[in-house]
Symmetry: C2
Subunit: 236 residues, 2 copies
DNA sequence: TCAATAGAGATTATTGATAATTGAGCGAGA
DNA sequence: TCTCGCTCAATTATCAATAATCTCTATTGA
């Protein structure tokens, strides 16, 4: 009843080491939030969490701080820490930023792509095709993230990578909130393929252009879905 | 000899309150880094800082964590915390991102600017003109930041604001490192004025276009300056 | 002379305890 | 009955102490 709420691996604090304890706790908490164990708006009491993971308050605090910067929790001084609750405006913010960052990443990626990178990108693309063929929506969702993460990685832009990652985590958060998946699998592929092609061919400006407004469509759709979910929540 | 190194206000921990202690310490440290009191590469020892500000190690730790996420210090687990040292590649990263974010901000700002915003932006622009007239480079530097911050604020995009702020702080960091100012004051004005005009007129796409590659030029110039400074550093 | 290594000193990581702050609940007075 | 202010329990903020780990130096052996 105590240990039972612990996500992830076996022992609480004993062998989670070989790197910082607070990072492990942050990882576990992140997992908890993204799987929906910890619900948006839920209060996270430091001493409770400390007891649950058999770790001190200070360690929990450091972990929460990490999640704060990732945008997964909100820390209100002397009030407490709460799991972030995203609304429609947040979703629009996130998608507009992702669009912008992914455009920049696509251009840079096209400019500096290597043969090794080409193989990686092509592998992801092949996986997407087979996911579409299999009609596997959940897998396609993962691959969508992986596709873009790959592009950002190829761009070799550290700060861009960092910012994009934060947005990706937040995207996952509201996908969890709304339980949304992609609808039109074929359409999704027909959007990703030309972009990949441009990057593979090193056509920077074309890649940039294709990546702009790439996710915007999803963003507005998902914002609507979220608004819908909020309405339902109010009714319930 | 102890208190003497304390930047900012009067008493160390006594009346710095009415909000979180670690934020105050973070502010003081940030100031120290941006004024060059704490030099890039310098090691920041937690207990030293704790003694200097008469606060505990934990408070210092929280402050350092904040600065870490701002990119002003690098935390290496179990090694220590060091003031960030930017190289040429970092400068290029920062400027390319600022360009991208500022373009997005400009478009959003043009779309949702209000009369109150217009007055604010015009006020900044007037201040820039008089700074140019007076040939005041330092003031012009500040106003350059303020100009862009204003645009980002007008855009009303919280996440964009957050990311932009981080980059602005990092920009200040290497301006401190290299002691660079703007050279061509008139040229600077002739770049900012059309952008302001487009935003004021609500011409979103034009604003977007003008903001793209706005700072790129500065970026490459400053990267070169930094490379130069590095060479000199090696020679010395 | 050089490489490996043991040990000392310094520094971070983690903890448990204490202080300060908040918000809720209760009761008195209008 | 409603509002204001007070007290108390819960929770965060801060501190001081201990444990774990790293770095540097000096010694040893080849």
């Amino acid at each position: 009843m105590d240990r039972n709420e612990i996500p992830r691996s076996s022992s609480p604090a004993a062998e989670l080491d070989r790197r910082n304890l607070d990072e492990d706790v942050a990882g576990a908490l992140r997992q908890g939030i993204l799987t929906g164990d910890l619900k948006p708006g839920e209060r996270l009491t430091e001493l409770d969490l400390a007891a649950r993971w058999r770790v001190s308050q200070g360690t929990i605090r450091a972990a929460l701080r990490t999640l704060q910067f990732e945008g997964l929790v909100e820390v209100r001084p002397r009030r407490g820490t709460f799991v972030t609750k995203l609304d429609e405006a947040d979703v629009i913010e996130i998608y507009s930023l992702r669009d912008t960052l992914e455009s920049l990443a696509s251009r840079h990626a096209a400019e500096r792509i290597t043969d090794k990178d080409r193989r990686t990108l092509e592998r992801v693309l092949r996986a997407m095709r087979s996911a579409v063929e299999a009609g596997n929506r959940k897998r396609m969702l993962e691959l969508d993230f992986e596709f873009h993460r790959t592009i950002v990685e190829i761009s070799g832009h550290k700060r861009l990578m960092e910012m994009w990652s934060r947005l990706a985590v937040q995207t996952r958060l509201f996908l969890t909130m709304t339980d949304q998946f992609h609808h039109d699998l074929d359409g999704l592929l027909s959007i990703h393929e030309p972009l990949a092609e441009a990057i593979l061919a090193g056509k920077a400006e074309k890649a940039f252009r294709l990546a702009s407004h790439h996710s915007q469509r999803d963003g507005t759709r998902l914002a609507a879905a979220l608004a819908n979910a909020e309405d339902k929540g109010q009714q319930a």
